[in-house]
């Protein structure tokens, strides 16, 4: 048994149907636990007051916004190399979820920035590159919408995703060069193993991150299933029209 078995739409649907209900329960419960714990059962920060609590939405959303694009990149590569339709549809299904995550990260960041930095928006490298990522998402979704033939659309968006990834990384470092930052560095550097977040804040944040991740997974699986069914319906209708 290999992973590629699930490139078969029927097998994929069967698997996702079996997993989805559990996944939904896990995703929603861990998101709710993480957020409720974060919002109501953690102390206020000594300097930031209760605004610190927006971290439980902001950080997981930003994390998933980037990971969603990365997942789309991997799915696009799989589509270009192995031509599994499920892969292309998964990339298509993930994009709007990524758009929403990016938007959540941008908006919560602005809401937090207003009292803390005294401004809704600054042209800080992190903020700017997130805005650019948002534009890339919009272009990607718009290209999917604009092309009628689904295989052509899958090919074109896959190439756009790859080229876009290169340019998104390039922009990330270009904006670093262009303007100095106001955004704080990461609170949880994985590489060094240190972190600047105390345990009381960190545990609910971790749960919330896991929750957002599972939520993304569940939404993407669900939406991919929908896309597969839409395509199947179209094929059936086309067949009926011909006979």
């Amino acid at each position: 048994m290999s992973l590629w078995e699930y490139a078969n739409p029927v097998k994929f649907l069967r698997l996702s149907e079996r997993v989805l209900s559990t996944l939904w329960v896990l995703a929603i419960s861990s998101t709710v636990v993480g957020l409720v714990w974060g919002f109501f059962f953690t102390p206020d920060d000594i300097r930031q007051g209760s605004t610190v609590k927006i971290i439980y939405i902001h950080v997981p959303a930003a994390l998933m916004a980037i990971n969603a694009w990365f997942m789309m990149l991997v799915a696009s590569l799989i589509w270009l190399i192995r031509r599994h339709h499920v892969s292309a549809l998964a990339a298509k299904a993930a994009a709007p979820v990524g758009v929403v995550m990016t938007l959540i990260a941008l908006i919560t960041g602005a809401i937090w920035g207003q009292p803390m930095w005294g401004t809704w928006w600054v042209w800080d490298p992190r903020l700017t590159s997130f805005l650019i990522l948002f534009l890339f998402y919009l272009g990607y979704v718009a290209l999917w919408e604009a092309i009628e033939d689904s295989d052509t659309a899958a090919d074109l968006t896959a190439v756009l995703c790859i080229v876009g990834s290169v340019f998104a990384v390039l922009s990330r470092y270009a904006v670093n060069f262009w303007n100095q930052g106001l955004h704080q560095g990461t609170s949880i550097p994985v590489a060094t193993g240190e972190r600047s977040v105390a345990d009381v804040f960190f545990v609910p944040l971790l749960i919330s991150m896991v929750g957002f991740g599972l939520l993304f997974l569940a939404l993407t699986l669900y939406r991919t299933g929908t896309e597969i069914r839409v395509r199947r319906t179209k094929a059936l209708l086309a067949r009926e029209g011909r006979s």
């Binding site: 650019i132 272009g139 718009a142 052509t152 190439v159 080229v163 270009a174």
Partner: protein
């Protein structure tokens, strides 16, 4: 290749090719800026490098949908695709033709418009140099966008949405080089990075453009 280049340039130069349109657009954008921000010469000379870069970039963008669409409609692209010349090379030549008919005139016109924008004297050379290095990148990235949207009717707006985010690094380094040049600061770092982006995009983007064009011609 040479024949294709000459053909493309000729088509662009003659009536209906839209040559000069980009140039006129560039002029108009630059003329509009003082109306919008006020005629304060100090402010104008401060924002001049950035505005000139934005103007050049938009003028470049404007002519992109003509780059492949007309050839796609009359079947020239199908012929090019079946010709012995690799389609990557054909697209490189088309990008070069686009640069000669759009990018190069912009580079030449930029100092003249710099006068309108009250650009500081020491900034002219760097502005021209940064545009000279940066506009080829705009042309090849634009060719990718044009190849991507060639099959879509009225794809102009979509083309802008797709291409503009890809222009971000080029714009940042180009405008930064021009800005530092105008301020009399050291320009070597942004200029070298800009040259690097141009070299990399010229080498790699035609491959991506050819890949999407093949899909669109399928």
């Amino acid at each position: 290749m040479k024949a294709l280049l000459i053909r493309d340039i000729r088509l662009a130069l003659r009536a209906g090719g839209g040559f000069g349109l980009g140039l006129a657009f560039f002029l108009i954008v630059i003329v509009m800026v003082p109306f919008a921000v006020g005629a304060d010469t100090g402010l104008l000379s401060k924002i001049a490098p950035g505005v000139l870069w934005i103007g050049a970039l938009l003028a470049c963008l404007l002519s992109l949908d003509r780059l492949l669409a007309l050839d796609f409609e009359d079947g020239t692209l199908d012929l090019l695709a079946t010709a012995p010349l690799p389609i990557e090379a054909a697209l490189s030549v088309k990008a070069l033709a686009h640069w000669i008919t759009t990018g190069l005139p912009l580079v030449i016109a930029a100092p003249v418009l710099g006068v309108l924008m009250n650009l500081p004297t020491q900034g002219y050379g760097w502005l021209v140099l940064s545009l000279l290095l940066g506009t080829p990148a705009l042309s090849v990235i634009g060719t990718f966008g044009a190849a991507l949207t060639v099959g879509i009717k009225r794809g102009g707006l979509l083309l802008s949405l797709l291409v503009l985010p890809l222009y971000v690094p080029t714009l940042i380094f180009g405008a930064e080089a021009a800005r530092r040049g105008a301020a009399g600061a050291d320009v070597s770092t942004p200029l070298l990075l800009l040259a690097g982006i141009s070299a990399a995009t010229i080498a790699l983007m035609p491959i991506a453009s050819a890949a999407v064009l093949k899909v669109n011609l399928r």
